[in-house]
Amino acid sequence: MGKTLFEKVWDNHVVDQLENGPDILYIDKHLIHEVTSPQAFSALKERNVPVFRPQQIVATADHNVPTLNQHLPITDELSRNQVAKLRQNCEEHNIELYGLGHPYQGIVHVIGPELGITQPGMTMVCGDSHTSTHGAFGSIAFGIGTSQVAQVFASQCLLVGKPKSMRIVVNGELKPGVHPKDVILYIISKLGTDSGTGYFAEYAGSVFENMTMEGRMTVCNMSIEMGARGGMIAPDETTYEYVKGKEFAPKGKELETKISHWKTLPTDDDAVFDKEYTFDAADIGPMITYGTNPGMGIRVDEQIPTNENESYQKALDYMGFSQGDSLHKLPINYVFIGSCTNSRIEDFRAASKYIKGKKKASNVNALIVPGSQQVAKQIQAEGLHKIFEAAGFEIRQPGCSACLAMNDDKIPAGEYCVSTSNRNFEGRQGPGARTILASPMTAAAAAIEGKIVDITQL
């Protein structure tokens, strides 16, 4: 029997198998950031254990950094300490750090791919659930807890049980105005937030084959929102083209050897998945969420479904919606275009295309937060900043920002925010904030119109 993409990469990294227990899985790349690493460093110190392979670790500061005046000391004392602690730990253990002020700084899941650190066939981990983003390259990438961050520090390995495999196939042609974000929001709305628990997903079919790497990253990013540890897409020409020429990507002969290996990775025709789902691209339209988990999504032209469940009603109460409501034309006051889901250059190109020559509605605060310093630079290079500024959008410096509201970028209680991030949990964007997840296009249109609109109807 053939093997799946996931199995091939997994099996290449198994150091040992414990009887009735987990595998010892070797980790190629370990990404760290300021929020989930300090306690792991302390755990090492308590045991007097060194970092085993510091050259396989890359650090950045993203979750807890301000998006204004990054050249100044951070004013919030706790945040400043956390970022300082990361620097101190990296220096002490000889770990490469792209901290504030570094031209490579940015959201950990944006910088890995854009620097060529992320490559097909790798195993990658990070103390952050959206590590699944890197699966877009055909790597096994997943989020881990801080105890596991310490395990990887100590041994470059993890003790993990092998997840089951699922495949999600979407064939057909996406309608104009339908973004990769809509595809993944659609999938999660159909499958639910726990359908992937215990599984690693592979996305297959013509929709993903025709997607850019940025789009694939958006899709894989949200795999965790259906409970899956990660999501993968088979590497192909689009992948190799993207990786080629990136700072830390293999070059010349080495690249050729790598590519011939990468070509062996896609799932064999006779491989079997533990479960499989198929969708038709024609059914997918611009999506928005109406509740407090990413599975509570509908097409903009649909109504909020009815459901007797108490937790469901609680979620609608929090959002200020009723069963059967339509959100089309709902007035909104905040728009956030950013986060590791949608803060790559392609996302800003898509948003700017819509915004060009228009002005945001006067009631809307619209925030643009690039995913990295390199994306920020590219926005300038392509002149997109002029379009955003003329339309009244505010462009900030790179970081996670209003995606999780650890810094000052918070949405006030009770306000609606159309956000390109990945989580609409209660209070995710600030206590009481009401998040409506959407694609960059839908978010851009909401900023201009001051309400939720169906971009395919404009």
Binding site: V15, D16, N20, G21, P22, I24, Y26, V35, T36, P38, Q39, S42, V49, F52, H63, N64, D76, L78, S79, N81, Q82, K85, G127, D128, S129, T131, G143, I144, G145, T146, S147, Q148, Q151, A154, S155, Q156, C157, L158, L159, G161, P163, T193, D194, T197, G198, G227, R229, N293, E310, S311, K314, L404, A405, M406, R423, F425, E426, G427, R428, P431
Partner: protein, 196 residues
């Protein structure tokens, strides 16, 4: 890690589904660089209102319920990988969480911190909620060695699953780092073979 073997105590019912890690510990409390004190902010925005006064209707503020066992609705611990969620629960005093479904990363984090996640089926979960509702003082007996959860007041005995390796770790208070460090030689051999 603390050892876990057996426990006989009361439980607190949190009858809400999809409790995500942002509710367990909101992001703004993740700025600490050590592991202590997270219990104070466990379920912060459900426990306290904007003026920092306790919200009486929230279960942790209800004096009728106490104990180191949390019984929660389906899909507990979904969302982020933050281990702070497990730290907040253990720091608050929880030793066991019962639900009909746990999110993956949360489950791993819980086990790595001596917090035992017990998965029961949805019908059993309903029975358990009912048992606490009719008698908030009913005792739960959790026996990790035998892998049983028992509620005498309703004559319920449930056999629960746990990974064999994790069970040994919990009972002995070992963790994965100890295990991996002891296997370094194998890891180095693996690296050498790959680079050859």
């Amino acid at each position: 890690m603390k050892k876990f073997t057996r426990l006989q105590q009361t439980a607190i019912p949190l009858d809400i589904e999809n409790v995500d890690t942002d509710q367990i510990i909101p992001a703004r409390f993740l700025k600490a660089t050590d592991r202590k004190g997270f219990g104070e902010n466990l379920f912060r925005d459900w426990r306290y209102n904007g003026d920092q006064n306790p919200i009486d209707s929230f279960i942790l503020n209800n004096k009728n319920y106490s104990g180191p066992i949390l019984v929660a609705g389906n899909n507990f611990g979904c969302g982020s990988s933050r281990e702070h969620a497990a730290w907040a629960l253990t720091d608050f005093g929880f030793k066991v969480v019962i639900s009909s479904f746990f999110a993956d990363i949360f489950q791993g984090n819980a086990l790595n911190n001596g917090l035992l996640p017990i998965q029961v089926n949805p019908e059993q979960l309903t029975l358990i909620f009912k048992a606490i509702e009719s008698d908030p003082k009913c005792e739960f007996i959790v026996d990790l060695e035998k892998q049983t959860l028992q509620i005498a007041s309703i004559d319920l005995i449930i056999d629960f699953e746990i990974n064999g390796y994790k069970k040994i770790c919990l009972i002995n208070g070992y963790d994965d780092i100890d295990y991996l460090i002891n296997n370094k030689q194998k890891i180095i051999e693996f690296e050498n073979k790959r680079n050859a």
